[in-house]
Amino acid sequence: MNRPKIDEAAQRRIDEHLDAIEQALGAGGMTRAERHQIAEDVDAQIHEMLATRLGDRTAMLEDVQAVLGELDPPEAYAESEASTPTPPAAAPAYEGPTRVSRLAVVGAVWAPLSLIAGFLSLFQFKMTPVQPGTEPPGPAWWQILLIAVVLVPGLLAPIGATLCGVVAMGSVRGSPHWARLRLTGRSSDRRCRRGGS
């Protein structure tokens, strides 16, 4: 196979084709080096096809047109697989034992106790005079139980529930499932910016 001689007009036509390809690839966001590499591959192919067809004969414009007619048009490169952005890698599937943070649940249950404690604190205590020589009346057993179960945790609830929430958010953010949620959110943002659905 000999290197084909190419007429000046024919060479210009080849250059135009390669420039158009580079332009189409550039619109797809491909780097200059990559565009150049692709254009070189196409150039080599055009020359090889011409050499196969023509042998020693000089390639004229119509020969080049015929070869280019067999190739993809430059605009096809804008739609090529490599000129479209690579989709973000999928985050690994969540494999944890549960999807609900236990600490978050504890915090959610604990927080309303502060409301109950606040409600109970609205009751007025009745002072009963104590006769000398008698035992002062203490709280009944159920009152002690109520204080232990509701009042103490209720008063601590604002701090405790907040701490539970902070620690739970920290562990949720560190989970693989959170990474997947963030990727989904970013994709939605991109769709919104493009005006898609």
Binding site: E34, Q37, A44, Q45, E48, A51, A76, E81
Partner: protein, 111 residues
């Protein structure tokens, strides 16, 4: 005439096909196109294959070297790197799982 679903199907396997075509040894772009065309069913064109070669070489899955050509400008020869061979191996395993599963489905629900 190729249908849209046909194009989608080919698009999904083009990387595997290109990596597979280079398993036997290095090739320059047009030679690779001819190897793919020789299979009969994989008529992938240059606007698909050359950008893919550029991406795969950028990703380190292929190495490129340039050698003079008797037909004109120098040819760029593409060869699988160790990372490319590893990618091919994992894609091939995945492909076999996929085809086996689809074959099974087609066998069960075939006309």
């Amino acid at each position: 005439m190729p249908q849209p679903w046909d194009a989608q199907l080919r698009r999904g396997v083009v990387e595997l096909a290109v990596l597979g075509a280079l398993r036997g040894g290095e090739a320059y772009g047009y030679e690779l196109l001819q190897r793919l065309a020789a299979t009969g069913a994989l008529t992938l064109t240059e606007s698909t294959v050359y950008p893919l070669l550029a991406r795969l070489s950028k990703d380190g899955l292929m190495s490129v070297r340039t050698r003079p050509s008797p037909a004109g400008p120098p040819r760029r020869y593409y060869r699988l790197t160790a990372a490319g061979r590893a990618r091919l191996k994992s894609m091939q395993a995945q492909w076999q799982l996929l085809t086996r599963a689809v074959d099974e489905l087609l066998k069960e629900t075939g006309p």
